[in-house]
Each structure stands twice: as C-alpha cells, then as structure tokens.
Symmetry: C2
Subunit: 611 residues, 2 copies
C-alpha cells in the first residue's frame, strides 16, 4: 500500500495549511447553511467520501458529487457537524494537499483525513475520510480522564476493586445480562471486549477454548504471525519494544491471555453457544450456551459474531475418506510435524497453511508432497514488508511519526474502489525485485498469479480472504523440489493413496486438507438458522467481480463491523489490524445503542449473495 | 520535587544550545587530552557530578572541583569518553542552562543532563549527571534491533519459541545455572529480571509466594498504591492509558504476574532460599533453596537481594504477647477488616500502614484506636501530586514532553546533598495549602512533623524509609475522632488490653503491630551469616545525620544497586520508580561482569554502620 495518490501535479503559491483551512471553512459554512449543493461542489469530479460512523452510523463510501449529495441530504440535519479544523499542519506532495482534521457532530467528536487536488483552478476534495472517535458525554476514562483507583476519603460502603470484580463475575449471566454478547474470543472478540469494557457497555465474550489465546496455541507448532508487529497492536496496550517482528503463535497466545486479564475483558472460556433466537417482542436474543459443560441461557440485546473471518474449516467432500487408513485432518487440526517423522504426507492445498505445514514437515524429515489445485499468489515476506507495508507499519514509519493509529487512518482513507491502482505498482516492484525467485518457482511447475488484476496480496485478502502465501521460506522448498509438487484435482482416496483426477497416485500415510475456511455466514446458519443466514447474506469481500468476490460493487466489506439486514446482529473479525481498528467503530455503534442515542443508518447494505 | 534550581539569575546573549555545546566541546577536549585540571576547571565552585555506572562502574556523586579531579584521575583513562553532544536543544530558565546530552565511553553509550550557571563571567557546570544506557556490542534487541520471531527459510534444526522456552525451563537449575540469582520476586526482582532477560544474562528470580504479584495481593484489602501511575511504570511495557492513577493492590498484582510472563522473566514461584555461601575458590555462591517443598542447590555467580527495602516485619518485643487472648499480628499479615466487625482493635503505629488499616477498620464498623508512639509526617495525596510530583510525573508532565524516562533522569540529576533545599519550599507550600487540615489534626492530639529539616516525605523516604503517611482519607478520621487516638509507648499486654507506659488501659480484641520493617541487612544475616551482614553494613539511607539516618554523609543510598563490600552481592529494591530506574544500572553492571568487561569500581562505599 502506498500513501501518495497519483494526481495531476499542480503548483500552488499558498501554504497548504491555509489552503486546507480555507476548504474546511467553505465546507463548514455550506454544512451550517444546510446547503448541500454548495458542499458537494467542493468535491472533485472523481471523489470519494468514506465515513466510519460519524455521519452515517454506518461504514460506507460514496463516490462523486452525486454520492456526496445523497449522503448529505440524508444525514446532514441529524449529524449537525461543526468545528472542522486542522489537527496539525497540512502537507503537500505531488500536487496533493493532505490534511489531518478534527470535527464534531451533535453526538460525538471525529477525526479525518482530507486530500485536495486542483481541478478547474480550484482546490477540490479528492478523498475525504471522516471517522467518529468518541461520543459526547461518554468519553473514555483514559489519560486525563483515567479512573483514580483509590477513592480517597472514608466510606462505610466502600467496595474494593477486587470485590467489585468478583461481584460482577458472579452476577453476570445470572442476575445481570450482558447488553452485548460476543461469540468468539480470538483477537477480534478480545479487542472488541476491551473497547466495550472501556466504554462501560455491559458485555461478555465467550469462547470454546480453555484459555484466551488457545485459538493460536492450538495451531501447528511452527506458526508465526505473517504480519509484522507494527501492524498487530491491540487497542490501548501496545506490544513492548522488544516484541518480535513476527510473533510465534504461543507468544501471541500468551499475550492475548494477559491482555484479556489486564483490560478486564469479561470473558468466559470453555463456553460454547448452541443456539440463538431473536425475539421481536422482547427486543432480546435468547442464546443457549454451555459453560464448562453446564447449560445456561443468556439474553443479550446485541449479538456479535467474532468467530473468525476464516473460522469454519472447509473440508472438501472427497470419496474414500472412509477407506483411507492413515491420519486425515484439516490444517486447523494439524498437530505439527513431530508425529510424522519418516512418513509420507500429502498436503492438499497451496496457500499459507499448506506452505507452512509443508515447510515444517520437511524440516522434520517427512516425505512431503503438496497438491496444488489452483493458482496461488506468493510474495516474499521481506519484500512485502519493504515495499508493501514499510511506509505505514515499520520501525521506519514510527520514526517518521506514522504511529499505528495514523497508519490505520491513512490506510482507511484510500478508497476501496481505487485501492488496487495503488497496489499494482507495488506488486510490479516486488515481481521485479524477486524475479529469480518467481522464475524458479514456475520452473518447478508451480502455478503462480498476482490476483485477477495484478493487485496482489492485500486485495486478495479484502476480496476473498484466500489464495496467497506470504513466503517465510517454504516456497524455496517447492522451487528446489525438497517438497514435491503435484498439480491437479483430488479424485478419491484409497486405503493408502491420494488419487488425482488424471490418475496420479500419491502414496500417503497422512493427508492434510489445507483447503481453507468457509464464510462466516456458516456460523450464523449453524447458530441461528439458514433463513437468517440467507437474509444476512454473504460476509466479507468488496463485490469486485473477481474470483470468489462476485459483483455488484459494494464499496465496503460486506457486513463487517456495521449494521446488517438482521436487527441487532453484527459481524466482527479479520486480522489484528482490522480487529484493532474496526473494533472502535463497532464499539461506538454498540455504545450509542446502549445509551439510547439516535443512530439512523444511511445506506444500509443490500444483500446480493447468500453465504 | 521541583526541577528548577534556584541559581543566581544571569543574562546571556548567546543561544543556550551554543553555550552548552561550547562547554561540552571544552570538556571533551580536556578529557581527550587527559587534562584533568582543565576539565575540573569547567565546574563551578559548588558543583556536583553524579555518575550512574558510566565512568565509575558505581553509583556515586562527587562534589566540587576536588571531587571531580579525584573521579577523573581514577577513571578517565579506563573510561575513554568521547562524543559529547546535545540530544536536543538546550533550555535556559532563571539563569540556568539545562542540556540533555549524549556521549560514549570505551565500553558503552551514555546519556546525561548538564546544568550550567554563570560564575566569574563564564558558564560552569553546576550539576552534571552521566548515566550508562547500553554496552557496545551488547545493545538490547528492541525497536530496530528487535528479534524477528519467525526465522525465515527452511532449517532442519529449527526449534520453536515454545520448545526453546520449555527446554530452558527444564534445564535451569539442573543442567544449567543462572549467572544471576535474584532473591525476591516483587516489583524489584521482576523489573531486574526483565532487564537481565533482555540483556541475555542467564538469570533466575525466586519468590516464596505461589504467584508473581502475591506480594501485593496478600496485603490488606483496601490497599491502593500511594504513588501515581506515571511514577510506577515498569521497564519496556507501560501501563495502558486507562490505568488508574492509584492502582488497587490486586490489579497491580495481576499486572506483575502478566508482566513476568510477557517479558519472559525466568521466575520460580513457591521457592524459598534457605542458605547462601560464597566460595572464593569457585567464584560461585552455593544457594540452598526449596522449590515447592523440594530442596535444590543453585550455583549462581551473582546474588541479588530484592527482598524489599522494607521487607522484614519489625515486631517490638512487648511483654504479655503470650497472655494476650485476642488476635495479634503484624500489619504485613493483616487480613483486612472483614473478620473484625463489631470488635475492638488497637493499632500500634501511626504511619502509612497504620492509617490505611485504621481507615478500613472504621469503614467496617470496628471500634478502632490508634496508638501513636512517635511523630509522623502526613501529606495529603492530592497536594503531594500537585505540588510534589506534578512537574515530573503527571498527565501534565507527559503533555509537556516529560516522559517517565526523562522524569527519572531529571530527578536523578538533583544531587542528594542539596535535594532537601528543593523539597523544603514544596512542603511549605503544602503546609500553607492544607493549613486547616494540619490544625485539625494537631487539635486532635496528633503529633505531626515535616522531617528533621522540614524537607518532607521524599527525603524521609530516602533517609529512613519510614515515618510518614500519604493521606488518602484516614487522617480525617483521626482528626474528627472517628478513629480514637492515644499517644504513648506500649508497656505490656494483658489477656484483653494494651497497657501503655502511663498506665492507660486500652481494651482490645485485636492488636495490630503496624510497627514497620527492619533493614534489608537482616535478610543477609538470615540467609548468609551475621558476619557477612556486618561487613555489608547498613542498607538504605544517605548518611544525612537525621533521625534513623546517622552520618557521615554517604552521597548515595547505602549499598543500593551498586557494588558492596561483599563480593558478588547486590541489594536491589525500593518503590516502583526505583525498581524501574535503578534496575537498568544494576543490570548493566551484572551484564558487564557476565561478559568479562573490565569494571574497575571507583570509590567503593565504606561501611560506617552495621544493620
């Protein structure tokens, strides 16, 4: 991702801060006068306004003056925006003025990022990001508003912190009900739980594992994060300065466990939700759960699925799994290489998990074969760091003043509609830098792609959440033949072989299905019902009309972190970056509803596809 | 504490940065030429050079040109200092130029703080702080040097993070020995353990409690930190922005437990050291420990006592404790007020613990009497925050760019010899601000003092570590008679009374000895022997010739964080501030010895007093 937009270079005599301030003044005057045409006229012909909850109580991007007119006509009076001002001096580079801004609405306070280009001799907005960061009257108790801890004075009713915590834990789920129930306590559920706790929204996060962090601990033993530390911080408490660039899975698991405790996230381990039903009458969900084997009914008002955007293992229906005599499992259940030393393992799949598992097996003297069923996009981790992420998430970015929070907003300010155009050159640069590597890989018979339009890894992630490998070393094992590579589709299994459609027989003591994960929608069908899942529609993806992400264009990721067609049902998830950043907007939406603040949703997403 | 020194106001035409740079250039030239008189001549007649490990491999302050000459004559050649430069632009206020500086030595890199005053028309150093922050070739793996975590590439010998951690835990104490054994795993031991881990020094922290943090959890239930959050951060991982100003004891306990895990501190809980013997022959300690009841011998090279600067409960030898039929315990074993509702409790003592315990008892409808045996210094917590700490440790300080790390160095730069002169005005201001409060307290018969020389709380802490209460509300209970106050000495106990020397009889179901703690020296006598404890001498205090801190003047706190008369024996402790700040210098001294770096100690402390 890059942060400089390729707009026509124009020269300006004026100080960029003065120019940006003039634009903000005109914009505010138009808004104050409720003069929508005047406000829309301040945007360029090609322009994008992305709003995270501040105007629309939604996550939405509108395009061009028409979209901006629509947005303002429906939201302006209710939002009552004011106080647009620069947060720091504006920058100008390549003809684009970039300005960090602050503003207020009737309900809250916002922060944004504005990019101005020259059009017809005037400065017009090209991209405009507006985000809500706090609700008035419900500011977070932190920094100068942090709690005192000790309550000075003498008080016969005093309850200590520990007593309050114990009383809360005892009453939760019996005499008191969570307003928000978050199903799934990985990084997403935990980050959201921390924000809700901080906002004073009675909440509960439940998870099936015995301990927070087990979601990571239980995976194959060589797993490390593929994203670097600067991209991975959780809200409120940053990793320490000595945290590894790519954290080992057990270390991240331990961190999540400590974080849950430190942030006082109400969290029930060893708890499974078995069913959920919405009652229009009571305005509550009835959620049946089993906590450490004991059944219990919860009655939250809001239900959040944080079960993982790639949560439900996808195991293809292959004939012969019943006759296969060896060990067969999905990658999510792979125990690591230790039990398989000296054996023959066939790994079905050629994306992240497949490569990581093949690499670890080879390191442990396993005879390993990878079956590639469709093309995969690979980038070398170092190149991705240097070219793809380095401007925003790196030690270099931090040194340049780009904190993780700023990086999140810069990235959020790039409209999804044109994001691929900024991504393509970065991946072209990686292709050039690692030319030899890709030649070797293809010479070994590996089918490699760069995404449908050459926009690479991050677009694949946003569009379909699959189809790539961030190479931390295992690709070379395929390129040099240490890990055997076979291309084709699985036809069936025998007692001791994987047989491909072309008749190839692969002897196997062990078969690993590194075949990815289903849609989050499947969790909804399981817990509520298929009808609700269908009304909710497909989750994730942008409507880019590329492989596994059918059109029409949605503008934002489907159903994520925003109101859905199902009342009081929310979807949360994604990588650590998204868990951190979008949990803020989801938490503010939930807090507003908890406090009875009016939250008219602009442009509620329509459903074009089921699960 | 205040950060502005009251030096004569002089005006200067020159930019303070240029002046400070000119001084540094002259100083460096003199040092490079090994011209000690020229270097000493750059200091004012009244001047102080405090060195933390960078020149002296000691923690020491020298005074005046004579002291500076001494220091340089013995350390200059071995230190080989160079590269003195400003870290940021210098400031000038009230005629004093203050400059943050960087420099190098042969062994490491340092940071310091220089204050220049005008004397005889020239700028001379008034205070000069030099500190070592890293050893060359042994830079800490953090920020741009942080570990990668994932080791990219394929490697048949690969060991995962978890496997390495498990192997290390299994071998430690059996096939491998810690180079450093830290006895005591409270905030001091944990902070030092984190730094040693970070520096790659094989270490082990042992503690008698079942879990890290129990040192806090086990105390009376209403206890909160009396120091504010900005003063309390541990190294590497700061408290989050929502951390309470005065953290409740169970919350700090949980933090210490999480911190120990996150920082990978090698820590044995439920472990008690039973004896320690130094062998001149092997250059090792033989330390007998019991780990979860099982005896084990450890053979560390360095032994650190981090058992608490106020660790060993001090129970006065009162006749009648054998006939007293009620519940009698030291404040360190006080369970909190719950068991005592409706009973009569006599609390012996009038310092921090006594007040906290009396307050909590009164809140729980206990009939409570405080016995004041000697005068106590009280400051209201809010006033201490505002007047005493606010310039260095507060939200306001952070907003003004005074990070906790900077505040630590500013505070460290104020010479102990004259620190009281900066403290006295602050306490005079508090006396004025809270005049009514002190009048009410004294009218109730409470004997109050401001320290021997009116320098207040922090000097009492540094000199004797006792004799004060930071009022968080309980003082009012004494002032208004809710907690009954009696002054006098205990003569004896009967079956159900405390009898004072003047014959006063105080009926008691419960007696709490809030009678403080002994010297750390006592731990050494217990674990090693009395002869070693005597050779070590008194621990803590400055030699200020005030109550409980006999002269002669020592210049630094006795035996803390620096080489002692006992080879390879170190004392560590203090509040969270000291645990954070001084653990760095202790860790660097231990690391240098571990790596075989020459560490000639300048001005090893002499012993003037036993225990």
């Amino acid at each position: 991702m890059t942060e400089t937009l390729d707009a026509p270079v124009v020269t300006s005599e004026q100080d960029p801060s003065a120019t940006a301030t003039a634009w903000l003044d005109s914009f505010e005057a138009a808004l104050a006068a409720r003069d929508v045409p005047a406000a829309a006229a301040l945007f360029a012909t090609e322009s994008y306004w992305r709003d995270l909850v501040s105007f629309t109580w939604n996550i939405t991007t509108v395009e061009g003056r028409e979209g901006i007119t629509d947005l303002l006509q429906s939201t302006l009076a209710g939002t009552d925006p004011s106080g647009f001002t620069l947060e720091e001096p504006a920058d100008e580079a390549d003809g684009v003025i970039t300005a960090w801004i602050l503003f207020e609405t009737g309900a809250g306070r916002g922060r944004g990022l504005l990019r101005l280009v020259e059009e017809d001799g005037e400065r017009k907005a090209f991209t405009f990001l507006t985000t809500l960061y706090e609700l008035k009257g419900f500011e977070e108790p932190k920094n100068e508003h942090r709690p005192r801890g000790a309550e000075h004075g003498a008080d016969k009713q005093r309850q200590t912190w520990l007593e309050r915590r114990q009383a809360e834990a005892e009453s939760l789920g019996s005499t008191t009900q969570p307003y928000v129930l978050v199903i799934g306590g990985g990084q997403g559920g935990i980050a959201l739980g921390a924000r809700l706790r901080q906002l004073g929204v009675p909440s509960l996060v439940i998870d099936k594992h015995p301990r927070p962090g087990d979601q990571w601990r239980n995976r194959y033993k060589s797993l490390c994060l593929h994203d670097p530390v600067w991209y991975d911080h959780l809200p409120y408490l940053k990793f320490p300065d000595n945290w590894p660039v790519f954290a080992p899975k057990d270390k991240i698991g331990d961190w999540l466990e400590s974080y849950t405790k430190i942030m006082e996230v109400p969290y029930w381990s060893s708890t499974t939700a078995t069913s959920a039903t919405w009652s229009e009458e009571t305005g509550e969900w009835t959620v049946e759960v089993e906590r450490e084997g004991k059944p219990l009914t919860l009655r939250p008002t809001q239900l959040v699925f944080a079960t993982g955007m790639s949560g439900k293992p996808n195991v293809p229906d292959v004939p012969g799994t019943d006759v296969f005599e060896g060990d067969l499992h999905h990658s999510s259940a792979h125990p690591g290489p230790d039990p398989y030393r000296g054996k023959k393992v066939v790994v079905i799949g050629s994306n992240n998990s497949a490569f990581d598992i093949c690499g670890a097996l080879w390191e442990n003297d396993v005879d390993v074969t990878m079956v590639q069923r469709s093309s995969t996009h690979i980038v070398k981790s170092d190149s991705l760091m240097e070219i793809g992420l380095g401007d925003l998430y790196s030690e270099r970015a931090v040194a340049a003043g780009v904190t993780t929070e700023k990086a999140d907003l810069i990235f959020a300010s790039l409209p999804y509609r044109i994001l691929h155009t900024f991504q393509i050159p970065a991946y072209e640069a990686m292709a050039e830098k690692d030319k030899d590597f890709y030649e070797r890989l293809e010479a070994a018979g590996f089918e490699h792609d760069w995404g449908d339009d050459g926009s690479g890894l991050f677009m694949k992630y946003l569009r379909r959440g699959s189809g790539y490998y961030i190479d931390v070393g295992a690709a070379d094992l395929v390129a040099n033949g240490d890990v055997k590579l076979v291309r084709g589709q699985i036809d069936h299994l025998t007692a001791n072989e994987v047989v491909l459609a072309d008749g190839t027989e692969l002897p196997a003591d062990v078969v690993v299905f590194a075949t990815g994960y289903g849609s989050m929608n499947g969790w909804v069908a399981d817990l509520i019902d298929q009808e609700t899942a269908d009304r909710l529609g497909k989750v994730w993806g942008l409507g880019s009309d590329t492989t596994k992400d059918p059109g029409p264009w949605e503008g934002e990721q489907r159903n994520m972190w925003k109101p859905t067609q199902i009342e009081n049902l929310w979807m949360h998830g994604g990588n650590l970056h998204q868990s951190r950043h979008y949990s803020l907007y989801l938490a503010l939406q939930l807090k507003a509803r908890f406090e009875g603040i009016d939250t008219p949703v602009h442009a509620l997403q329509e459903v074009h596809h089921t699960g």
